[in-house]
């Protein structure tokens, strides 16, 4: 394997964490940002020093701003999602520009620690796959001189899945669960391996629990008692009839759960293996990133989770004198990275037809995109560019553009676009 860093970066709304792998390590290591209370966490805040081209992040940003040394923007990812702006020293910066400086400064910690800037893979783990955020993250990372092929993004759910599947088999032979309690609320994750399919399917789901509470209540004794009651009732209700192989706890709220969750932990630990993992999503992202460096997958599963699609999309085409099936998307593909772009010449066809087959359905559905208002030409002299991309795991768009036929029949760039919702409205 090449020498360099394999980075998992858990990019939450308010903070981020980094785990990394370098050759020779058995487990991903967590990056320590400071010697403070939460050494593995850095707040998503950025400050520009007054009158200087110096950017500060995390705690340093807060301190500088408090001393009047500059303006600060916190909850940076929310600003990126809104595609907002902020003004420093009278200059307006886009949220994406700030994100670029934030990622640059964040990665400098790791580069300094490991004394290398060679990045083999960087895998971001985000809670919500918001297209505006994902696009901005990719663009910013590319500006940091990391090639596009080395940059990937997955959901927290998928990071969790990779983390668990990288552990001993006995920890995921039945159901594995995770309670993540952070400032964003309480999220419950569940992973199970569906056997009997070819290949077996590893399915993970996330549920946002309405019972979630603010971490501030943990500051008082009655609050801690209430938190214990809430979590006890959650565990009791959700896990009672399930065969659980392992349970994980993560998030800022859980790092002190031994102080406030006596009953909750007692019930959770009954005949179950329970782990508190500091950087579970960042670590999971590192395991997922390693997949891109292997020739064959270490996980003999089809993966289904938030961020992954559950359909096969294909087309029958001729190549040379052979008929073949062109697979455009497959069950388990990451929707954000599933993008197809190819050219076809329809021969005696006035539309583009594709087959869409959902995992749980036996028969495929045929979708049709008519080449409406395309220029009328003789047969076989209209080359079209077909693009397929996903807006989410449940929605995809087919774009078809007229390219004409070289200089014999110049293209018009006439484009038709049709969006399909998987499982409805197709």
């Amino acid at each position: 394997m090449e020498e360099g860093l394999i980075i998992g970066l858990d990019l939450c709304k308010d903070f981020c964490r980094i785990s990394y792998f370098v050759s020779g390590q058995e487990e991903p290591a967590d990056l320590v940002f400071s010697e403070e209370e939460n050494p593995y966490v850095i707040q998503n805040s950025i400050c520009k020093k007054k009158g200087e081209d110096v950017w500060l992040i995390g705690q340093e940003a807060y301190e500088t701003a408090l001393l009047g040394g500059g303006s600060i923007v916190d909850k940076l990812l929310r600003l990126v999602a809104r595609q907002g702006f902020a003004t420093f020293d009278g200059v307006q910066y886009s949220a994406e520009e700030l994100l670029y400086h934030f990622l640059d400064e964040t990665l400098k910690y790791l580069y300094a620690e490991k004394k290398t800037k060679t990045v083999l893979q960087i895998m971001y783990s985000v809670q919500e796959l918001n297209t505006a955020v994902l696009d901005a993250v990719i663009r910013c990372t590319k500006r940091l001189n990391i090639e596009r092929k080395r940059i990937h993004i997955i959901s927290h759910t998928e990071s969790y899945l990779y983390y668990v599947l990288s552990q001993r088999r006995e920890l995921w032979s039945n159901i594995s669960v995770l309670y993540d309690l952070s400032g964003d609320g309480l999220n419950y994750y569940e992973l199970e391996v569906l056997r009997g399919m070819q290949p077996n399917v590893a399915r993970a789901r996330r549920t946002f629990l309405e019972e979630g509470f603010s971490l501030d209540i943990l500051d008082s004794a009655p609050g801690r008692k209430m938190a214990d009651n809430i979590m006890t009732s959650c565990v009791d209700r959700m896990l009672k009839k399930k065969l659980i192989s392992s349970a994980y706890l993560s998030g800022r709220g859980m790092d002190s759960c031994q102080k406030w969750g006596e009953n909750f932990l007692r019930i959770l630990c009954q005949r179950r293996k329970v782990f508190f993992i500091e950087n579970i999503f960042a670590k999971g992202a590192v395991y997922a990133a390693c997949e891109y460096l292997r020739e064959t997958s270490s996980y003999p599963f089809s993966i289904m989770c938030e961020g992954r699609i559950d359909v096969d999309i294909s087309m029958e085409v001729t190549q040379g004198n052979n008929m073949r099936v062109l697979n455009l998307a497959s069950v388990g593909n990451n929707w954000y990275e599933t993008k197809e772009d190819f050219d076809l010449i329809p021969d005696q066809e006035t539309s583009i037809r594709m087959k869409v087959k959902r995992l749980e359905e036996r028969m495929p559905i045929i979708i049709d995109v008519p080449l409406k208002d395309f220029p009328v030409r003789p047969q076989k002299v209209t080359r079209v560019n077909v693009g397929l991309s996903f807006e989410s795991e449940k929605m995809f768009t087919v774009t078809i553009m007229d390219k004409g036929f070289g200089e014999f029949f110049p293209g018009t760039d006439k484009t038709v676009r049709k969006t399909f919702t998987i499982g409805g409205g197709m």
Binding site: E316, T318, N321, N322, R324, L326, L344, E349, G406, F408
Partner: protein, 270 residues
């Protein structure tokens, strides 16, 4: 039943077809050119330039190798073209059969007839300067013993026609006079008369002395009639249509039109 042909790579550096003044970017366009412009394809079509284009620009080394092997062992261009079209799969079996029939028909022709067919095709495509070059290779400096007299006359007449399209009336007259000197055809003499009126040239001395005045008046009337029809047809002429469009479109399309004409002139000078 319909189908979708999956396209190959588009070339960055195209294959240039001088005769058509067109650039080819894909294997499908190459097949289209071979199939539809067969008369333009000379004996030297399969060469290093074509193989380089297929191998490196289209990234189809297997096809390039196959052509090289096949053509190298048999030197049969027609069979190689047939094989290329068949391997690419752009044309159906029925279309390939039709192409083969055209190849057989073409093979029956002499090399001069093939060049003549190429030149005629170029005239139909309004590539007059290329057509002139082709016709000239057949006519050389005079009647050649290798071709029949009638064939030579036909070629010279077609050459005069091509010169006429390029407004090179002196050359057109030279060709027509050359024919008349040999065959004394009244039809050719009338053409000489037409060209002189069209270009405002004096009638060449000695040619019309024996033509009765009444016949000359009839020819003149005939010319005017045709000119009137031609002027009426101009209204539907593509070039004239440009002037009916808005100023922005007019500017763009005129630029393209002028570029084409300049290209044609440059072709003449080469």
């Amino acid at each position: 039943m319909g189908r979708y042909i999956l396209c190959g790579k588009e070339a960055e550096l195209p294959y240039e077809v001088d005769e058509l003044d067109i650039r080819i970017y894909t294997i499908e366009e190459l097949c289209y050119y071979i199939y539809n412009y067969l008369p333009l394809i000379g004996e030297d079509f399969i060469d290093e330039r074509l193989l380089f284009f297929i191998r490196h620009e289209l990234e189809m080394p297997e096809i390039a190798d196959k052509i090289e092997r096949f053509y190298g062992s048999r030197s049969e261009q027609d069979a190689t073209l047939q094989m290329l079209l068949s391997d690419v799969g752009y044309y159906s079996d029925a279309e390939l059969q039709e192409f083969q029939n055209r190849l057989v028909y073409r093979r029956r022709k002499s090399s001069q007839e093939r060049i003549r067919a190429k030149a005629d095709s170029l005239v139909r495509l309004k590539r007059y300067q290329s057509a002139v070059r082709c016709y000239k290779t057949l006519s050389g400096n005079g009647a050649d013993s290798r071709v029949s007299r009638d064939f030579y006359f036909e070629v010279q007449e077609a050459l005069a026609n091509a010169y006429g399209h390029l407004c090179e009336f002196d050359y057109a007259l030279d060709c027509l006079c050359g024919i008349y000197d040999l065959n004394h055809s009244e039809r050719i003499l009338k053409k000489i008369y037409d060209v002189c009126i069209l270009s405002g040239t004096e009638l060449p001395k000695g040619y019309f002395s024996k033509v009765p005045d009444e016949k000359l008046r009839k020819w003149q009337q005939d010319y005017w009639n045709r000119e009137t029809i031609a002027r009426q047809n101009l209204d539907s002429d593509e070039t004239m249509q440009i002037f009916l469009k808005d100023s922005e479109t007019q500017k763009k399309e005129l630029a393209v039109y002028l570029d084409e004409k300049k290209e044609a002139c440059r072709g003449m000078l080469e």
